[in-house]
Amino acid sequence: MIVKMPFMPVKFNLQKRVKLAQGLWMIYWLSVIVGILIFSLGIFFKIELRKRSEMMDSNESHLVPNLLILVGLMACGLNAFGGKVCHDSLDPMKFAKWKPMLRSYLLLCCGFNGLLLLTAVLCFLMQFAVYLTLAEGLKNSIKFYKDTDTPGRCFMKRTLDMTQIEFRCCGNNNFRDWFEVQWISNRYLDMSNDLVKDRVLSNVEGKYLMDSVPFSCCNPGSPRPCIQHHLTNNSAHYDYDHRIEELNIWTRGCREALFSYFSSMMNSIGMLILATIILEVRLHPQHTTMEDPENPECESDGWLLEKGVKETFGELFSKMKILGKKNQVDEGGDAEATT
């Protein structure tokens, strides 16, 4: 004879049950608010990715924000439903109609928690993808900086300038990235000038390279007016040594700046989701006590699982095996019928 050994049993009388139901109802409403928060964070993250999509080569993956939006909506719905069930559990007649679907609802909640866990893991792992996309995207941005007359790229200059100003960075890895690229359009170069001709001929690809950076690299905190041109030529400027000058232009690279911004955002969202999982898991123990007897005033038992953890798993597996065998028998029967 198998003895029923509930997992973490607790005794309940009517008062305790009422208190439990009320407490649970409050937690459900808190969870609904958290669900709304996750939804709005997903939208915020999506908007941020869109804003910088030019820097990411229009190649960024929207998987994480879409998943966040979906999870937020599901959390709202499930928890609102749970709150309604809790509210009705105080009235035995209303509760009767919810009783049959309670079990499947609990299974759904378990599945939802698994999905939350997956989302949190993705939040932490997708940062690598963002890093790689940024590296590629910024390199191309710098290359297309001068193409203000090419359709599709005419706003790259403005976007890159605003990004460098906002994030206080210069270039991809550092400001020297600007020395390797021609960032002045040919339309504004006087090709008959000797200086221009020298520079263009000085490299294989015929690019007009200079040791200068755009104005958006300038640091407003510098005590002297910004030195943008002839950065490596100490004699071109009075009292200037480019090796020790630190405040003139931003020394950080934009890839690092953008990545740290996005990574801190994703870490915070991941932490919030982990906290949500903990909140959701705490709700489960209380669910199973909502099995009311006929007499509402008598005592009852509450538990987390009806049998021990091992036995519950054993049951689940045997059920799945039976389902599998049934399919095989069906197929066998079909095969016989056809022959």
Partner: protein
């Protein structure tokens, strides 16, 4: 002859009290809103106080904060009174002070209205403060080694980038002052000596602007130096060039920013004032309906509610008469005292 009287039975009275209680909670939130707007405006003024020559008047944000707190307190108290009005026993203790409370509410409403008006008018003094402050800001731009002014350059640069403006009226203001510190000028160079010798004050003036004036939307890299010299740059005509640097002056830009902010705050304060007037009228109805019960012992009896017991004209003459009698009362007392003094 009462002003706008309405008949009330128990049910209607209860509904009235509940509605006014509900409206009082909205009014409390309105008070919180006024308080936070005052706080926000104060912070915004502080942020730019360097550019206003540390001379800006904090009168209006302080007034908003004070009014917000007072409104919260009075509305919470009014809500409590409404809540108690449903229970005749509890209401008895409030009955006596209700009239003075209502007068206090009316004073508060008029103060709120005056605050809203001030919000719309504050643009004028702000204009003068900004004009003076920006002129000095630009003059001290180069003094990055003078204590007390060393952050002026950064503040001005950040402001020009944020508000998308250049100079006081326009970018030519930068041509009239020396914005490069002497520490970075090579006085041995001929060019520097020429420029300094070219004007009475011995200032190094140039037709150039700081980098923060540059417009990122310009299709060509920013031209900051030798702006009025067309031959210094390829394919450049400074008369027709519009996208190179910001065309707007910073005084205009900041004035429109603060003006918009003040208009919004003024409009919101007006809305809160209207809400306050509504709850005051509601409370007056609650008061009058509970004080005119046909049968004072029976809470279910009918009653009448009004805004003013007599018509507006009569109420006004009443108030004037009360004030005159109060004045005469003090005069008579003085006369009496004088008589007593002379006698003795």
């Amino acid at each position: 002859m009462v002003l706008m009287s309405v008949k009330f039975d128990l049910k209607k009275r209860v509904k009235l009290a509940q509605t006014v209680w509900f409206m009082y909670w909205f009014a409390v939130m309105g008070g919180v809103l006024v308080f936070s707007m005052g706080l926000f405006f104060k912070i915004e003024l502080r942020k730019r106080s360097e550019l206003m020559d540390n001379n800006e008047s904090h009168f209006l944000p302080n007034l908003l904060i004070l009014m917000g707190l007072i409104a919260c307190g009075i509305n919470a108290f009014g809500g409590k009174i409404c809540y108690d009005s449903l229970d005749p026993n509890k209401f008895v203790k409030w009955k006596s002070m209700l009239k003075s409370f209502l007068v206090l509410c009316m004073v508060l409403n008029s103060l709120l209205f005056i605050t809203a008006l001030l919000c719309f008018l504050t643009r004028i003094p702000l204009q003068f403060t900004l004009a003076e402050g920006l002129k000095n800001g630009m003059r001290y731009y180069k003094d990055t080694d003078t204590p007390g002014r060393c952050y002026m350059k950064r503040t001005l640069d950040l402001m020009q980038m944020e508000f998308r403006c250049c100079g006081n009226e326009n970018y030519r203001d930068w041509f009239e002052i020396q914005w490069v510190s002497n520490r970075y000028l090579d006085f041995g160079a001929k060019e520097v000596k020429d420029r300094i010798g070219s004007n009475v004050d011995g200032q190094y003036l140039m037709d150039g602007v700081p980098f923060s004036c540059c417009n990122p939307s310009s299709p060509r890299p920013c031209i900051q130096n030798q702006m009025t010299n067309n031959t210094a740059h390829y394919s450049y005509d400074h008369y027709t060039e519009e996208l190179n640097v910001w065309k707007r002056g910073c005084r205009d830009a900041m004035l429109s920013y603060y003006g918009g902010l003040m208009n919004t705050i003024g409009a919101l304060v007006l809305l809160v004032t209207i809400l306050e007037v509504a709850v005051t009228i509601g409370l007056q109805y609650v008061n009058s309906s509970l004080s005119t019960l046909a049968n004072p012992e029976d809470p279910e009896s009918e009653s009448e509610g009004w805004i003013l017991e007599k018509t507006v004209k009569e109420t006004f003459t009443d108030i004037m008469a009360t004030m005159k009698s109060m004045g005469k009362g003090t005069k008579v007392e003085e006369g009496g005292e004088a008589a007593v003094a002379t006698v003795s």
